[in-house]
Amino acid sequence: MTIPRTLFDKIWESHIVRQQTAETPAVLYIDLHLIHEVTSPQAFTELRQRGLKVRRPDRTLATMDHSTPTTPRGPDGIIPVIDAQAVAQLGQLETNCADFGIPLFKLGSANQGIVHVIGPEQGLTQPGMTIVCGDSHTSTHGAFGALAFGIGTSEVAHVLATQCLIQNRPRTMEVRVDGRPGFGVTAKDIILAIIARYGVGAGTGHVFEYTGAAIRALSMEERMTICNMSIEGGARAGMIAPDDTTFQYIAGRPFAPQGAAWEAALAQWRSLPTDAGATYDRTITLDASQLTPMITYGTNPGMGMPIDGRIPLPEEMPDPSARQALDKALRYMDLRPGEPLLGHKIDVVFLGSCTNSRISDLRLAAGMLKGRRVAEGVRMLVVPGSQQVRQQAEAEGLHEVFRAAGAEWREAGCSACLGMNDDKVPAGKYAVSTSNRNFEGRQGPGARTFLASPVTAVAAAIEGAVADPRKYLRN
């Protein structure tokens, strides 16, 4: 009898080029390498300095997303880039891709978008693969039953040159979510609740595998939202076993296997889920039926609470260090312990990012916003994750709903998620954002971020204050 193995074990073991020993880590083969303008330039410089080629440009794909503007196109159909440094960085990526033969989705072209949105959308992200990118939210792709994680620029150079990485085997952690989520509770609320309960360091050294009835019931886009924020729970990667939901999503996409290759792939993918009796190094659990919509109040994604909750008191924190962290966070946010957030005035709503900018997110938000208006004085940015999402949304008329409500309908990209391009939250202002990080200054110097789901973001846009989305949803 063979030893039962986890999904992670199977993928890890099938990608070993050189076994881990007491002295050396494993050499792991990488199936797909995604790159973007911010974390790749210095890696190409290293290649040039050493006279190296890109080993598999045909397993590499580049896009422009982080430093790009999301402002409307000019009459020539081109998105104008004004920031000189961004121009240089985007130009450098273009040169690098041309010199090394790497396909590139240029700014504004039909398939361009946030790197973690385009991989799945193109059907490149598939079960059983190893996928890396110089970006921590590469964990998103794990939703398909792939082992996907973020790497630094030195490692980007390693993968470009050798299609391999030097890796120590991580530990595994099962994150089991059972129960049926309550009314108004989305995938975003589930992952925010996991991080609030177990903390931002819980997954350090581990790969998460999300299991349980609540996870199985999620759509692919919802699964991506969950896996996306694995890194906020400290895990470099998060995965979900592939099933029919996964296969249906991939079928027919541009890079999905076709015909006989599809049948062969399917047979292989069906062998991937964790075997009965396989063990994880650790298991944590959550009962989805106990959840309400979530919102963060502090400056890391673990500082979250139910939308109708109260900000914790210092004495409720587990240790002095956590008390200090709470104190520091509340000073930055200009909030007080014990207060509710409901009704707290907000200035900006950001609907976008690799966490929540896919078509289902936009449909959900538009459905709620239809016939309503963004409150006076609130700026709402709606930023589709990719040009494909944008086109789909426009074909469905969603952009008209957003515009009619007074929101801005923008070009695809990372936008206000990270305060690197023109889209920023002004200093001292409060934003409800569907992105993944509420760190100090993340959305712009001095910006104050409440992380929440798309429906909670829309509710806040309507009221101009933190609001419970459930009153706007039909049960």
Binding site: S14, V17, R18, A22, E23, T24, P25, V27, Y29, D31, L32, V38, Q42, T45, L52, R55, D58, T60, L61, H66, S67, Q85, I102, L124, M129, S136, G150, I151, G152, T153, S154, E155, A157, A161, T162, Q163, C164, I166, N168, P170, V200, G201, T204, G234, R236, P254, F255, N300, S321, Q324, A325, L418, G419, M420, R437, E440, G441, R442, P445, G446
Partner: protein, 203 residues
């Protein structure tokens, strides 16, 4: 890569847990295509006021913190994004090592790749360092890579874990890219023996 065997120097303490890479180096500094200018952005929002003047009470701006080569920080240091600009900025500023109760995975990897030593100590040692700095900010510690130990001036010492391969590379100045390139025959054999999972990324 330069060889590292030990670091002796003064340290500064940033007693904050979960310091994320957006604090270490904000995204607007990531528009460079080389590694220059990053030290300027290090802990920018904590170091400087909106008008660009230094905040006098921030630890790195205090006179006694000048010339320190070791940063001591709260647990889960370097969480958040994968930007290698974080270790580059810390090194550009003059730090050679960071001591913390634990590090976020990607930061630790990135730091090791650049010879910025991530030194993981128990909470008690961390607390000792915090109070030592309070008492006398000119205190020096010694980090010895071979024996994987941090030694305080009074002789107390704590061991720290480090991946044996990373240690070997740091001690001997071994370049990890070179190690991987030498695996070419094994990589070619792997490719020959496995059907491609991505046939091509070219449309």
């Amino acid at each position: 890569m330069e060889k590292i065997s030990s670091i002796t120097g003064r340290f500064v303490v940033l007693p904050v847990q979960d310091i994320d890479t957006d604090q270490i180096i904000p995204a607007r500094y990531l528009k460079v295509t080389d590694k220059s200018g990053l030290a300027e952005g290090l802990f920018f929002a904590w170091r400087f006021n909106a008008d660009g003047s230094p905040k006098p009470d921030f630890v790195l701006n205090r006179p006694e913190a000048q010339g320190a080569t070791i940063l001591v920080a709260g647990r889960n240091f370097g969480c958040g994004s994968s930007r290698e600009h974080a270790p580059w900025a810390l090194q550009g500023y003059g730090f050679q090592a960071v001591i913390s109760p634990y590090f976020a995975d990607i930061f630790r990897n990135n730091a090791l790749k650049n010879g910025l030593l991530p030194v993981q100590v128990d909470e008690e040692t961390y607390e000792q360092l915090v109070s030592l700095f309070d008492e006398d900010p000119t205190t020096e510690v010694r980090i010895d890579l071979e024996s994987q130990s941090v030694t305080l001036p009074d002789g107390r010492s704590a061991r720290f874990p480090i991946d044996p391969f990373a240690k070997h590379c740091l001690l001997n100045g071994v370049d990890q890219m070179g190690f991987l390139l030498a695996e070419e025959p094994a990589i070619a054999a792997y490719e020959a023996g496995h059907a491609p999972r991505v046939v091509t990324t070219r449309s």
